[in-house]
Protein backbone atom coordinates (compact mmCIF):
# COMPACT_ATOMS: atom_id res chain seq x y z
CA UNK A 1 0.00 0.00 0.00
CA UNK A 2 1.42 3.37 -0.99
CA UNK A 3 2.03 5.74 1.88
CA UNK A 4 -0.10 8.85 2.14
CA UNK A 5 1.41 11.83 3.90
CA UNK A 6 -0.31 15.10 4.73
CA UNK A 7 1.64 18.27 5.44
CA UNK A 8 -0.20 20.96 7.39
CA UNK A 9 1.30 24.44 7.28
CA UNK A 10 -0.36 27.22 9.28
CA UNK A 11 -0.72 30.39 7.20
CA UNK A 12 1.31 33.35 8.51
CA UNK A 13 1.03 31.67 11.89
CA UNK A 14 2.37 34.20 14.41
CA UNK A 15 0.75 37.13 12.61
CA UNK A 16 -2.57 35.27 12.36
CA UNK A 17 -2.53 34.46 16.10
CA UNK A 18 -1.93 38.15 16.83
CA UNK A 19 -4.87 39.06 14.58
CA UNK A 20 -7.08 36.62 16.46
CA UNK A 21 -5.92 38.10 19.71
CA UNK A 22 -6.55 41.68 18.55
CA UNK A 23 -9.32 41.74 15.92
CA UNK A 24 -8.68 45.41 14.94
CA UNK A 25 -5.43 44.15 13.36
CA UNK A 26 -7.26 42.03 10.79
CA UNK A 27 -6.52 42.96 7.21
CA UNK A 28 -3.66 45.25 8.23
CA UNK A 29 0.04 44.76 7.48
CA UNK A 30 1.10 43.02 10.69
CA UNK A 31 4.65 41.90 11.35
CA UNK A 32 5.69 39.85 14.35
CA UNK A 33 9.29 40.39 15.43
CA UNK A 34 11.56 40.59 18.47
CA UNK A 35 12.01 44.10 19.81
CA UNK A 36 10.29 46.35 17.22
CA UNK A 37 12.64 49.20 18.12
CA UNK A 38 15.72 47.03 18.22
CA UNK A 39 17.42 45.18 15.41
CA UNK A 40 15.44 42.02 15.38
CA UNK A 41 14.07 40.29 12.30
CA UNK A 42 10.54 39.70 11.09
CA UNK A 43 9.42 36.27 12.34
CA UNK A 44 6.11 36.34 10.44
CA UNK A 45 4.32 38.79 8.19
CA UNK A 46 0.60 38.87 7.48
CA UNK A 47 -0.43 38.61 3.83
CA UNK A 48 -1.19 42.37 3.56
CA UNK A 49 2.38 43.01 4.82
CA UNK A 50 3.78 40.60 2.24
CA UNK A 51 2.22 42.72 -0.50
CA UNK A 52 4.79 45.38 0.44
CA UNK A 53 7.61 42.87 -0.13
CA UNK A 54 8.12 42.01 3.53
CA UNK A 55 9.14 38.44 4.26
CA UNK A 56 10.17 36.33 7.25
CA UNK A 57 13.79 36.70 8.28
CA UNK A 58 14.01 40.28 7.00
CA UNK A 59 15.54 42.83 9.42
CA UNK A 60 12.87 45.04 11.01
CA UNK A 61 14.63 48.16 9.72
CA UNK A 62 14.31 46.88 6.12
CA UNK A 63 10.68 45.90 6.68
CA UNK A 64 9.92 49.34 8.11
CA UNK A 65 11.40 50.89 4.98
CA UNK A 66 9.20 48.76 2.74
CA UNK A 67 6.08 49.13 4.85
CA UNK A 68 6.30 52.36 6.88
CA UNK A 69 2.70 52.11 8.13
CA UNK A 70 3.07 48.47 9.12
CA UNK A 71 2.25 47.30 12.63
CA UNK A 72 5.22 45.69 14.37
CA UNK A 73 4.33 43.42 17.26
CA UNK A 74 6.82 41.86 19.67
CA UNK A 75 6.32 38.10 19.49
CA UNK A 76 4.75 36.21 22.37
CA UNK A 77 6.07 32.62 22.27
CA UNK A 78 3.67 31.39 25.00
CA UNK A 79 0.69 32.40 22.87
CA UNK A 80 2.07 30.57 19.83
CA UNK A 81 3.10 27.43 21.72
CA UNK A 82 -0.38 27.19 23.26
CA UNK A 83 -2.04 27.56 19.86
CA UNK A 84 0.35 25.13 18.19
CA UNK A 85 -0.48 22.47 20.79
CA UNK A 86 -4.19 23.00 20.10
CA UNK A 87 -3.63 22.54 16.36
CA UNK A 88 -1.56 19.43 17.00
CA UNK A 89 -4.38 17.93 19.09
CA UNK A 90 -6.81 18.60 16.25
CA UNK A 91 -4.45 16.85 13.81
CA UNK A 92 -4.34 13.87 16.18
CA UNK A 93 -8.10 13.50 15.81
CA UNK A 94 -7.44 12.43 12.20
CA UNK A 95 -4.47 10.11 12.76
CA UNK A 96 -2.35 9.13 15.76
CA UNK A 97 0.85 9.59 13.73
CA UNK A 98 1.50 13.34 13.85
CA UNK A 99 5.02 14.75 13.69
CA UNK A 100 5.50 18.39 14.68
CA UNK A 101 7.98 19.66 12.12
CA UNK A 102 8.10 23.14 13.59
CA UNK A 103 5.80 25.28 15.72
CA UNK A 104 3.48 25.84 12.73
CA UNK A 105 4.00 22.76 10.55
CA UNK A 106 2.95 19.15 11.02
CA UNK A 107 3.38 15.95 9.06
CA UNK A 108 0.56 13.41 9.35
CA UNK A 109 0.76 9.82 8.18
CA UNK A 110 -2.80 9.27 6.95
CA UNK A 111 -2.15 5.98 5.11
CA UNK A 112 -4.46 4.03 7.42
CA UNK A 113 -7.08 6.69 8.13
CA UNK A 114 -7.70 8.53 4.83
CA UNK A 115 -10.39 6.10 3.63
CA UNK A 116 -12.44 6.77 6.74
CA UNK A 117 -12.89 10.36 5.55
CA UNK A 118 -13.49 9.53 1.90
CA UNK A 119 -9.85 9.82 0.81
CA UNK A 120 -6.83 12.02 1.49
CA UNK A 121 -8.25 15.16 -0.10
CA UNK A 122 -11.48 14.98 1.90
CA UNK A 123 -9.55 14.30 5.11
CA UNK A 124 -7.40 17.38 4.45
CA UNK A 125 -10.50 19.45 3.75
CA UNK A 126 -12.20 18.30 6.97
CA UNK A 127 -9.06 18.90 9.02
CA UNK A 128 -8.67 22.41 7.60
CA UNK A 129 -12.28 23.15 8.47
CA UNK A 130 -11.87 21.70 11.96
CA UNK A 131 -8.80 23.87 12.59
CA UNK A 132 -10.54 26.98 11.24
CA UNK A 133 -13.70 26.46 13.27
CA UNK A 134 -11.90 25.59 16.49
CA UNK A 135 -9.04 28.08 16.44
CA UNK A 136 -10.06 30.65 13.84
CA UNK A 137 -6.82 29.99 11.95
CA UNK A 138 -6.30 29.07 8.31
CA UNK A 139 -3.79 26.56 7.04
CA UNK A 140 -2.56 24.98 3.82
CA UNK A 141 -2.46 21.24 3.30
CA UNK A 142 -0.21 19.25 0.99
CA UNK A 143 -0.73 15.60 0.13
CA UNK A 144 1.85 13.24 -1.30
CA UNK A 145 3.32 9.74 -1.04
CA UNK A 146 6.17 11.09 1.11
CA UNK A 147 7.17 14.12 3.17
CA UNK A 148 9.05 15.87 0.36
CA UNK A 149 6.16 15.77 -2.06
CA UNK A 150 3.57 16.61 0.62
CA UNK A 151 5.54 19.66 1.75
CA UNK A 152 6.19 20.81 -1.79
CA UNK A 153 2.46 20.42 -2.51
CA UNK A 154 1.56 22.70 0.39
CA UNK A 155 4.27 25.21 -0.56
CA UNK A 156 2.66 25.51 -3.99
CA UNK A 157 -0.84 26.10 -2.65
CA UNK A 158 -0.42 28.75 0.04
CA UNK A 159 -2.44 30.29 1.52
CA UNK A 160 -5.51 28.33 2.54
CA UNK A 161 -5.21 25.72 -0.20
CA UNK A 162 -4.96 21.99 -0.61
CA UNK A 163 -2.36 20.58 -2.98
CA UNK A 164 -1.65 17.07 -4.18
CA UNK A 165 1.63 15.86 -5.68
CA UNK A 166 1.75 12.21 -6.69
CA UNK A 167 4.70 10.30 -8.13
CA UNK A 168 3.10 10.68 -11.57
CA UNK A 169 3.28 14.49 -11.16
CA UNK A 170 7.02 14.57 -10.59
CA UNK A 171 8.13 15.22 -14.16
CA UNK A 172 5.36 17.62 -15.07
CA UNK A 173 4.74 19.54 -11.86
CA UNK A 174 7.87 19.15 -9.72
CA UNK A 175 10.74 19.26 -12.19
CA UNK A 176 9.56 22.46 -13.85
CA UNK A 177 9.67 24.38 -10.56
CA UNK A 178 12.50 26.73 -9.54
CA UNK A 179 14.97 25.22 -7.06
CA UNK A 180 13.79 27.20 -4.05
CA UNK A 181 10.40 25.48 -4.17
CA UNK A 182 12.02 22.22 -3.09
CA UNK A 183 11.92 21.31 0.59
CA UNK A 184 15.44 21.79 1.97
CA UNK A 185 16.74 24.39 -0.45
CA UNK A 186 17.44 27.77 1.10
CA UNK A 187 19.01 30.88 -0.36
CA UNK A 188 22.63 29.71 0.11
CA UNK A 189 22.12 26.26 -1.41
CA UNK A 190 20.17 27.79 -4.26
CA UNK A 191 23.03 30.20 -5.03
CA UNK A 192 25.54 27.34 -5.06
CA UNK A 193 23.33 25.27 -7.34
CA UNK A 194 22.81 28.27 -9.63
CA UNK A 195 26.58 28.60 -9.92
CA UNK A 196 26.66 25.00 -11.10
CA UNK A 197 24.18 25.93 -13.82
CA UNK A 198 21.04 24.53 -12.20
CA UNK A 199 17.84 26.57 -12.24
CA UNK A 200 15.01 24.07 -11.81
CA UNK A 201 14.30 21.07 -9.62
CA UNK A 202 14.51 19.03 -12.82
CA UNK A 203 18.11 20.22 -13.37
CA UNK A 204 18.94 19.04 -9.86
CA UNK A 205 17.23 15.67 -10.42
CA UNK A 206 19.33 15.04 -13.55
CA UNK A 207 22.65 15.70 -11.76
CA UNK A 208 24.47 12.53 -10.67
CA UNK A 209 24.24 12.09 -6.87
CA UNK A 210 28.03 11.57 -6.70
CA UNK A 211 28.61 15.07 -8.09
CA UNK A 212 26.29 16.60 -5.48
CA UNK A 213 27.83 14.52 -2.73
CA UNK A 214 31.28 15.89 -3.58
CA UNK A 215 29.99 19.46 -3.20
CA UNK A 216 27.43 19.23 -0.40
CA UNK A 217 28.40 16.00 1.38
CA UNK A 218 25.57 13.75 2.61
CA UNK A 219 23.11 16.60 2.08
CA UNK A 220 23.92 16.52 -1.63
CA UNK A 221 22.61 12.98 -1.94
CA UNK A 222 19.48 13.91 0.00
CA UNK A 223 18.86 16.90 -2.26
CA UNK A 224 19.17 14.73 -5.36
CA UNK A 225 16.70 12.18 -3.96
CA UNK A 226 14.29 14.96 -2.95
CA UNK A 227 14.47 16.43 -6.47
CA UNK A 228 13.51 13.01 -7.82
CA UNK A 229 10.56 12.92 -5.42
CA UNK A 230 12.16 10.11 -3.41
CA UNK A 231 11.92 10.14 0.36
CA UNK A 232 11.32 7.21 2.65
CA UNK A 233 11.72 9.05 5.96
CA UNK A 234 8.91 8.06 8.31
CA UNK A 235 6.47 10.37 10.07
CA UNK A 236 7.46 10.04 13.71
CA UNK A 237 5.04 11.13 16.42
CA UNK A 238 6.50 13.02 19.35
CA UNK A 239 6.58 10.01 21.65
CA UNK A 240 8.95 8.20 19.31
CA UNK A 241 11.15 11.13 18.31
CA UNK A 242 14.87 10.37 18.63
CA UNK A 243 16.57 12.07 21.55
CA UNK A 244 18.22 15.42 20.91
CA UNK A 245 21.77 15.29 19.56
CA UNK A 246 22.59 18.78 20.74
CA UNK A 247 21.13 21.57 22.83
CA UNK A 248 21.95 25.16 22.06
CA UNK A 249 20.92 28.79 22.46
CA UNK A 250 21.83 31.97 20.60
CA UNK A 251 21.63 35.61 21.56
CA UNK A 252 21.77 38.70 19.36
CA UNK A 253 23.38 41.49 21.36
CA UNK A 254 21.49 44.77 21.72
CA UNK A 255 24.36 46.37 19.81
CA UNK A 256 27.56 45.05 18.28
CA UNK A 257 30.37 45.03 20.80
CA UNK A 258 33.99 44.01 21.10
CA UNK A 259 34.03 44.41 24.90
CA UNK A 260 35.02 41.04 26.24
CA UNK A 261 33.36 41.64 29.62
CA UNK A 262 29.99 42.15 27.97
CA UNK A 263 30.51 39.21 25.68
CA UNK A 264 31.40 36.98 28.60
CA UNK A 265 28.25 38.01 30.44
CA UNK A 266 26.19 37.11 27.41
CA UNK A 267 28.07 33.83 27.24
CA UNK A 268 27.22 33.18 30.89
CA UNK A 269 23.53 33.76 30.23
CA UNK A 270 23.63 31.37 27.30
CA UNK A 271 25.57 28.76 29.29
CA UNK A 272 22.96 28.96 32.06
CA UNK A 273 20.15 28.38 29.56
CA UNK A 274 21.94 25.46 27.93
CA UNK A 275 22.80 23.98 31.33
CA UNK A 276 19.21 24.18 32.49
CA UNK A 277 17.98 22.45 29.32
CA UNK A 278 20.68 19.77 29.61
CA UNK A 279 19.73 18.98 33.20
CA UNK A 280 16.01 18.96 32.41
CA UNK A 281 16.64 16.41 29.66
CA UNK A 282 18.92 14.37 31.93
CA UNK A 283 22.04 14.86 29.79
CA UNK A 284 25.67 15.74 30.23
CA UNK A 285 27.65 17.13 27.31
CA UNK A 286 31.20 16.32 26.31
CA UNK A 287 31.44 18.94 23.56
CA UNK A 288 30.78 22.65 23.98
CA UNK A 289 30.61 24.80 20.86
CA UNK A 290 30.65 28.58 20.67
CA UNK A 291 29.30 30.42 17.67
CA UNK A 292 30.41 33.99 17.03
CA UNK A 293 28.79 36.17 14.39
CA UNK A 294 30.55 39.43 13.66
CA UNK A 295 28.99 42.72 12.64
CA UNK A 296 29.55 41.94 8.96
CA UNK A 297 27.70 38.61 9.43
CA UNK A 298 30.90 36.53 9.09
CA UNK A 299 30.35 33.60 11.42
CA UNK A 300 32.79 31.24 13.08
CA UNK A 301 32.26 28.25 15.36
CA UNK A 302 34.83 26.76 17.71
CA UNK A 303 34.39 23.65 19.83
CA UNK A 304 36.09 21.87 22.66
CA UNK A 305 35.61 18.28 23.77
CA UNK A 306 36.25 16.97 27.26
CA UNK A 307 36.66 13.45 28.47
CA UNK A 308 33.88 13.77 31.00
CA UNK A 309 30.41 15.12 30.38
CA UNK A 310 29.37 18.34 32.09
CA UNK A 311 26.00 19.84 32.93
CA UNK A 312 26.47 22.69 35.43
CA UNK A 313 26.10 26.29 34.24
CA UNK A 314 29.57 27.26 35.45
CA UNK A 315 31.22 24.24 33.85
CA UNK A 316 29.68 25.09 30.50
CA UNK A 317 30.52 28.75 30.93
CA UNK A 318 34.17 27.98 31.73
CA UNK A 319 34.54 25.94 28.55
CA UNK A 320 32.72 28.54 26.46
CA UNK A 321 34.80 31.35 27.93
CA UNK A 322 38.04 29.53 27.16
CA UNK A 323 36.91 29.27 23.55
CA UNK A 324 35.92 32.92 23.36
CA UNK A 325 39.25 33.97 24.86
CA UNK A 326 41.11 31.95 22.24
CA UNK A 327 39.44 33.87 19.40
CA UNK A 328 40.95 37.09 18.09
CA UNK A 329 38.07 39.52 17.65
CA UNK A 330 38.81 41.37 14.45
CA UNK A 331 35.41 43.02 14.52
CA UNK A 332 32.59 43.77 16.94
CA UNK A 333 30.37 40.82 17.71
CA UNK A 334 26.69 40.76 16.73
CA UNK A 335 25.58 37.34 17.95
CA UNK A 336 26.82 34.64 20.29
CA UNK A 337 25.71 31.05 20.55
CA UNK A 338 26.53 28.20 22.91
CA UNK A 339 25.64 24.61 22.19
CA UNK A 340 26.25 21.33 23.95
CA UNK A 341 26.65 18.10 22.00
CA UNK A 342 28.18 14.64 22.33
CA UNK A 343 25.44 14.08 24.88
CA UNK A 344 25.59 11.33 27.42
CA UNK A 345 23.37 10.21 30.25
CA UNK A 346 26.28 8.75 32.18
CA UNK A 347 26.75 10.33 35.58
CA UNK A 348 30.45 10.94 36.09
CA UNK A 349 31.82 12.48 39.23
CA UNK A 350 33.73 15.69 38.76
CA UNK A 351 37.03 15.70 40.54
CA UNK A 352 37.64 19.41 40.63
CA UNK A 353 35.96 22.36 39.14
CA UNK A 354 37.89 25.52 38.38
CA UNK A 355 39.53 25.57 41.77
CA UNK A 356 36.44 24.79 43.78
CA UNK A 357 37.32 21.64 45.60
CA UNK A 358 33.76 20.79 46.53
CA UNK A 359 31.90 20.14 43.26
CA UNK A 360 29.21 18.21 45.09
CA UNK A 361 28.24 21.43 46.83
CA UNK A 362 27.92 23.19 43.50
CA UNK A 363 25.83 20.32 42.16
CA UNK A 364 23.53 20.68 45.16
CA UNK A 365 23.26 24.44 44.76
CA UNK A 366 22.38 23.93 41.09
CA UNK A 367 19.78 21.30 41.97
CA UNK A 368 18.26 23.66 44.53
CA UNK A 369 18.15 26.48 41.97
CA UNK A 370 16.55 24.14 39.43
CA UNK A 371 13.90 23.13 41.97
CA UNK A 372 13.12 26.79 42.66
CA UNK A 373 12.75 27.41 38.93
CA UNK A 374 10.56 24.33 38.51
CA UNK A 375 8.27 25.61 41.20
CA UNK A 376 8.25 29.37 40.68
CA UNK A 377 9.28 29.83 37.07
CA UNK A 378 12.49 30.36 35.09
CA UNK A 379 13.06 33.91 36.27
CA UNK A 380 12.47 33.26 39.98
CA UNK A 381 16.22 33.12 40.59
CA UNK A 382 19.21 33.93 38.40
CA UNK A 383 22.69 35.40 38.37
CA UNK A 384 22.83 39.06 39.43
CA UNK A 385 25.26 39.95 36.63
CA UNK A 386 22.80 38.69 34.03
CA UNK A 387 19.96 40.81 35.37
CA UNK A 388 22.23 43.85 35.29
CA UNK A 389 23.13 43.19 31.67
CA UNK A 390 19.51 42.55 30.72
CA UNK A 391 20.37 39.14 29.28
CA UNK A 392 17.88 37.15 31.34
Amino acid sequence: MERMILHVDMDAFFASVEELSAPPLRGKPVMVCGDPNGRSVVAAASYPAREFGVSSGMPVTTARGLCPNGIFIPGDPQKYIFTSLRVRKLCQEFTPIVEPFSIDEFFLDITDTAERYGGAFDLADKLKERIRKTTGLKCTAGIGPNKVLAKTASNLNKPDGIGVLSKEDIAEKLHTLPLEKLFGIGEKTKSKLNLLGMETIGDLAKTPPETLKKIFGVVGEMLCRAARGEDDSPVIDEEHQPKAKSIGNEYTLAEDTGQRRRLERALMGLSAKVGRRLRKAGFRARTITVKIRFGNFDTITRATTREQGIRLDHEIFEEARKILRSVRLKQSVRLLGVSASNLTTTCEKQMELFGISCPLKLERVTEAVDRLRDRFGEYAITWGSLVKEGII
Binding site: V17, L20, P23, P74, Q78, I81, R373, F376, G377
Partner: protein, 83 residues
Protein backbone atom coordinates in the same frame (compact mmCIF):
# COMPACT_ATOMS: atom_id res chain seq x y z
CA UNK B 1 0.39 51.29 19.12
CA UNK B 2 1.32 48.55 21.55
CA UNK B 3 2.43 49.42 25.04
CA UNK B 4 3.90 46.96 27.51
CA UNK B 5 2.39 47.62 30.94
CA UNK B 6 3.05 44.90 33.56
CA UNK B 7 0.83 46.48 36.23
CA UNK B 8 -1.44 44.82 38.74
CA UNK B 9 -5.06 45.84 38.10
CA UNK B 10 -8.51 45.39 39.67
CA UNK B 11 -10.78 43.15 37.65
CA UNK B 12 -14.36 42.03 38.05
CA UNK B 13 -14.65 38.61 36.48
CA UNK B 14 -17.31 35.97 36.05
CA UNK B 15 -16.43 32.48 37.26
CA UNK B 16 -18.96 30.11 35.74
CA UNK B 17 -18.97 26.52 34.53
CA UNK B 18 -15.25 26.11 35.21
CA UNK B 19 -14.45 29.16 33.10
CA UNK B 20 -13.34 32.64 34.02
CA UNK B 21 -14.23 35.71 31.97
CA UNK B 22 -13.16 39.29 32.75
CA UNK B 23 -16.19 41.62 32.75
CA UNK B 24 -14.72 45.01 33.67
CA UNK B 25 -11.48 46.39 35.03
CA UNK B 26 -9.86 49.53 36.28
CA UNK B 27 -6.59 50.90 34.96
CA UNK B 28 -4.98 54.30 35.35
CA UNK B 29 -8.09 55.70 37.05
CA UNK B 30 -10.45 54.65 34.23
CA UNK B 31 -12.96 51.82 34.21
CA UNK B 32 -13.18 49.67 31.09
CA UNK B 33 -16.03 47.34 30.17
CA UNK B 34 -15.17 44.17 28.27
CA UNK B 35 -17.05 43.76 24.99
CA UNK B 36 -15.65 40.32 24.24
CA UNK B 37 -12.68 38.05 24.82
CA UNK B 38 -11.35 37.17 21.36
CA UNK B 39 -8.47 35.00 22.56
CA UNK B 40 -7.46 33.07 25.66
CA UNK B 41 -4.31 31.10 26.35
CA UNK B 42 -2.46 29.43 29.13
CA UNK B 43 1.17 29.55 30.20
CA UNK B 44 3.06 28.41 33.27
CA UNK B 45 5.34 30.07 35.73
CA UNK B 46 6.89 27.08 37.44
CA UNK B 47 4.02 25.00 38.84
CA UNK B 48 1.51 27.80 38.54
CA UNK B 49 -0.74 28.34 35.53
CA UNK B 50 -1.18 31.85 34.19
CA UNK B 51 -4.54 32.40 32.50
CA UNK B 52 -4.16 34.95 29.72
CA UNK B 53 -6.99 36.92 28.15
CA UNK B 54 -6.99 39.25 25.22
CA UNK B 55 -10.01 41.50 25.74
CA UNK B 56 -11.68 44.06 23.53
CA UNK B 57 -12.95 47.00 25.62
CA UNK B 58 -15.76 49.42 24.84
CA UNK B 59 -13.05 52.00 24.13
CA UNK B 60 -12.08 49.93 21.07
CA UNK B 61 -8.68 49.14 22.60
CA UNK B 62 -7.35 45.62 23.07
CA UNK B 63 -5.92 44.69 26.48
CA UNK B 64 -3.88 41.62 27.31
CA UNK B 65 -4.31 40.64 30.94
CA UNK B 66 -3.61 37.56 32.99
CA UNK B 67 -4.79 35.91 36.15
CA UNK B 68 -1.71 34.84 38.10
CA UNK B 69 -2.86 31.71 39.93
CA UNK B 70 0.10 31.74 42.30
CA UNK B 71 -0.41 35.23 43.67
CA UNK B 72 -4.13 35.39 42.86
CA UNK B 73 -3.79 38.75 41.17
CA UNK B 74 -4.65 40.22 37.79
CA UNK B 75 -1.86 41.76 35.74
CA UNK B 76 -2.29 44.00 32.72
CA UNK B 77 0.51 42.97 30.37
CA UNK B 78 -0.14 44.96 27.18
CA UNK B 79 -2.43 47.56 25.73
CA UNK B 80 -3.02 47.97 22.06
CA UNK B 81 -4.52 51.38 21.45
CA UNK B 82 -6.72 51.85 18.44
CA UNK B 83 -5.26 54.01 15.70
Amino acid sequence: MIEEIGQEIDVIARFQGGKVTPVKFRWSGDTYFVVNVPFKWLSREGNFPQFHFSVLATSGDVFEMRLDSQKLRWVLDKVQMEG
